[in-house]
């Protein structure tokens, strides 16, 4: 018999429905990844016991680890399904939805909160308008390179899943949005809102919730310097707090 890939997938029809496990065996071919397996199931929605089922529901788009859509928990670790190569994974490959976000169906979750957090930190550069106002400010290439590392965050949610402080009890904004706050605060024009951003992350659910567990930076697929960013912001907020305090 030709080689197959075995999968165990946690399925759930909706947030209030019970969850169940289904097992699958799909044909193996070179360079396949977890999404290719799920696509095989779409074409032949039959479980490992030969029983008909429905295709698994999940999110994906780019298939090259840049859109952030396909994050799920694979063999216990949050990561992108498109870049999870089957040949590197022990089998059965166990797939579960992210646990820190509301479930929609099967492996699909609702990560709206991450985009809302970007609103909270005023994650934008307040330009005057989109008409032609001539060149922007100069920027040293070295500074640019640090900014670029922060700007590659694809809101995938891996860091939120890994962070012990992101949970139902705290309303911690999480590492991704914090790093974005720094990104805009070091941008030549974006920094004009720096103090408002610091205010936003100093309150309830803000930067002080971070217990410096360092989990986030280890799982980030884009190597965003999360803990460096958080440390820098910690300094900035302290300084900002003291300055305000002295000016009272």
């Amino acid at each position: 018999m030709s080689r197959t890939v075995r999968l165990r997938i946690r399925r759930q029809d909706g947030p209030d429905a019970p969850s169940r496990w289904e097992e699958f065996a799909v044909p193996h071919y070179p360079h396949m990844n977890v999404i290719t397996c799920l696509q095989e199931i779409q074409r032949n929605p039959v479980d490992a016991q030969g029983k008909a089922t429905t295709p698994v529901v999940w999110d994906c788009n780019c298939l090259e680890e840049v859109c952030g859509a396909c994050t799920m928990v694979i063999n216990g670790r949050a990561r992108q399904a498109c870049s999870a190569l089957v040949d590197d994974l022990p089998q059965p490959i166990v797939l579960e939805p992210l646990s820190k976000f509301p479930l929609i169906r099967d492996l699909m979750v609702d990560r709206t909160v991450m985009f809302e957090n970007l609103k909270r930190i005023k994650g934008w550069v307040p330009i005057d308008g989109t008409y032609d106002l001539g060149p922007g400010p100069r920027l040293a290439e070295k500074r640019r390179q640090f900014g670029y590392r922060l700007s590659r965050c694809m809101t995938c949610g891996c860091c939120m899943e890994a962070c012990p402080q992101v949970n139902r009890r705290t309303n911690f904004i999480g590492p991704a949005a914090l790093a974005q706050a720094l990104y805009f605060n070091i941008s030549p024009i974006g920094r004009s809102l720096a103090e408002e951003r610091l205010e936003a992350i100093m309150g309830d659910g803000g930067i002080t919730e971070c217990g410096n567990a360092q989990n986030c930076v280890k799982v980030c697929p884009k190597e965003v310097p999360l803990t460096t960013a958080i440390a820098k912001l910690n300094g900035d907020t302290t300084w900002y707090f003291l300055r305000n305090w002295f000016q009272r």
């Binding site: 779409q42 295709p55 090259e64 859109c67 330009i127 809101t155 024009i189």
Partner: protein, 584 residues
């Protein structure tokens, strides 16, 4: 009084640019997207965006950019909008710089530019090798700013199904479906902009994202919008073959000095450099793809006897590669397990971009009044072949024009009659269509049918086209359409039913496959990406014309329209010699 709003469908570069343009003028935008807009396909763009800023003392100018674009597109693009785009390009780069995009810099802290295909100038601004992501995020952030201010309402996870037309045939809004709950609803709008991106999924595997089915454009085509130049499909020369996707290795790899070769008689044969001494590895994509095809398929010289060639960066210092091309090196490492800084990459051509799309006038309005289009879903800027790094530009520029013109339409021309009744009729029609699919009881799986369509299209309607095979493909498409009526969608759940919506999208993919193939069959010449060995030359007499497809129940009706060539008279297109030598 009806609410003052414009509906924008699509949150890639084109849609978001249009939305910002409208919102900054205090007008309301309702923004629809299949995915959270920050995950739109534009995020994939790697290499960069063109603008003749001429910071390298090379004497570049918007006119040179214009000429390269028209010449690269084999004179099929209307020249007026292309000229305007090239003139606007420097201002667009500055705008994104001001929005905070982390473009690479020179030692002096100025914007850096690199080379791309089909030009001799350093004209391409870039942010590492993830330029599309950086540009998209900048616009996403501006839209979020207006969302927070209450001027943009987002409908993410909603699928546009069709346009609402009133008795006079004017577009009055859209019907959309919530992809989680399944709810289908009519949304009135004073004007509508479609910015729904490309259609690579019609070819099964491509460099595109999985949501790029072209279904939205296909749907309005069946409602009376025209589809122009459908047969012009760009096949990118360098992608990594894969079982699920053909992952692009950007032209910027060659722009930074990458070389293409195959082993021949124990030596390295740099065939592009030999065949095209004037442009070398940076010939336009149609030319490079045909050369690679010829070397692998006809001459049997592919690496390891397979359809693949080397794309070699190993002679470039590793730290320089990291700063300028890091994003694509990472893709190659993660998906192939090899390091391109150490071993040459193995690549082959892949379907990449549709030059064709919805026909629009110079105000970006489609053949349906009140319905505008911008971005890859329309046809305006690239003629028979797109130059690298011109798409991000055309998306942004087209988005600006569409935003402005749609707003003007909404203020001055949109009818004031109540569109509610037409909206309800259209919503009912769409609910019935979905119900019809849901209750289908045949034996075809939509995903299997889609794979077959992709294989047939890739085999017959890409780099080399023959009339007999195109005829056979038209027959296959008719057969696929028949089989579509015999589907059995594999899921009948109500919530987040992805296969139901995919089956619906497949219907429109088949319609557009028909348009693409028939257009190719009828165009008996070779021009840009459209190449027929039986008709190897460009035939300006018969075919210096835009192809226009109109929907009928029996298949597309094809007409032709003259091309605007008022600035640059057509001349032969040759990349073995310098451009000046072709100017006579």
């Amino acid at each position: 009084m009806q609410r003052q709003n414009v509906i924008v469908v699509g949150g890639g570069l084109a849609g978001l640019m249009a939305a910002v343009r409208i919102a900054e003028q205090n007008f309301h935008v309702d923004l629809f997207s299949l995915v959270p807009v920050r995950r739109s396909h534009s995020v994939c763009a790697q290499g960069g965006i063109n603008a003749a800023v001429n910071t390298k003392g090379e004497g570049d100018s918007p006119w040179e950019h214009f000429d390269d674009t028209i010449y690269g597109g084999d004179f099929l693009a209307n020249q007026t909008p292309v000229k305007r785009m090239c003139e606007a390009a420097p201002g667009i780069i500055y705008l994104f710089d001001r929005m905070g995009v982390m473009f690479n810099r020179t030692d002096e802290g100025l914007l850096d530019f690199r080379r791309f295909g089909g030009t001799k100038y350093h004209r391409t601004a870039f942010a590492g090798a993830t330029t599309g992501q950086q540009l998209l995020y900048a616009l996403d952030e501006q839209v979020r700013r207006y969302e927070a201010a209450g001027r943009v309402t987002k409908f993410e996870g909603w699928e546009f199904l069709s346009a609402i037309a009133d008795d006079a045939g004017v577009c009055r809004g859209v019907v959309a479906a919530d992809l989680v709950s399944g709810e289908v609803r009519a949304f009135p709008g004073r004007a509508v902009i479609l910015a729904t991106g490309g259609l690579g999924m019609i070819f099964g595997k491509s460099t595109n994202s999985v949501i790029n089915t072209g279904a939205a454009a296909g749907s309005v085509y069946t409602q009376g919008a025209r589809f122009a130049n459908g047969e012009f499909i760009q096949v990118h020369p360098t992608a990594i073959p894969g079982p699920d996707k053909l992952r692009l290795m950007s032209e910027s790899a060659r722009g930074e000095g990458g070389r293409v070769w195959v082993p021949r008689n124990g030596e390295r044969w740099y065939f592009l450099e030999e065949m095209y001494p004037a442009y070398g590895n940076l010939v336009p994509r149609d030319i490079a793809s045909r050369a690679i095809f010829d070397v692998c398929v006809n001459q049997g010289l592919g690496v390891d006897g397979k359809n693949q060639v080397y794309l070699d960066l190993t002679h470039i210092p590793a730290d320089e590669l990291e700063v300028k091309l890091g994003g694509i090196l990472e893709i190659y490492r993660k998906f192939m397990g090899d390091d391109p800084a150490k071993v040459p990459m193995k690549v082959f051509p892949a379907v990449h971009y549709s030059m064709g799309g919805l026909w629009v006038d110079y105000d970006q309005m489609t053949a349906i009044p009140g319905l505008f289009a911008a971005g890859e879903c329309e046809y305006q800027y690239h003629g028979a072949n797109r130059l690298g790094a011109n798409s991000l530009l055309s998306c942004i520029y087209g988005g600006q024009v569409a935003g402005q013109k749609a707003m003007e339409w909404a203020l001055d021309k949109a009818p004031d009659t109540d569109p509610t009744r037409h909206g309800e009729l259209e919503a009912t029609r769409q609910r019935e269509f979905l119900d019809r699919i849901r209750s289908m009881d045949g034996d075809e799986n939509p995903y299997v049918l889609h794979r077959e369509l992709g294989e047939v299209m890739t085999e017959n309607v890409t780099v080399v086209r023959h009339n007999d095979r195109l005829d056979a493909t038209l027959e296959r498409i008719a057969e696929f359409k028949e089989r579509w009526t015999n589907l059995r969608p594999p899921d009948n759940g109500a919530r987040a039913n992805q296969s139901l919506h995919f089956a619906r999208q497949l219907y429109y993919m088949l319609e557009l496959a028909h348009v693409i193939t028939l257009g190719a069959r009828l165009r008996d010449e070779s021009r840009g990406a459209h190449y027929k060995p039986e008709f190897p030359d460009r035939d300006d007499e018969r075919f210096l014309k835009t192809t226009l497809a109109a929907y009928t129940a029996d298949g597309p009706r094809i007409d032709y329209e003259d091309v605007d060539i008022q600035y640059i008279p057509p001349r032969p297109r040759k990349y073995d010699v310098d451009k000046k030598e072709t100017m006579g």
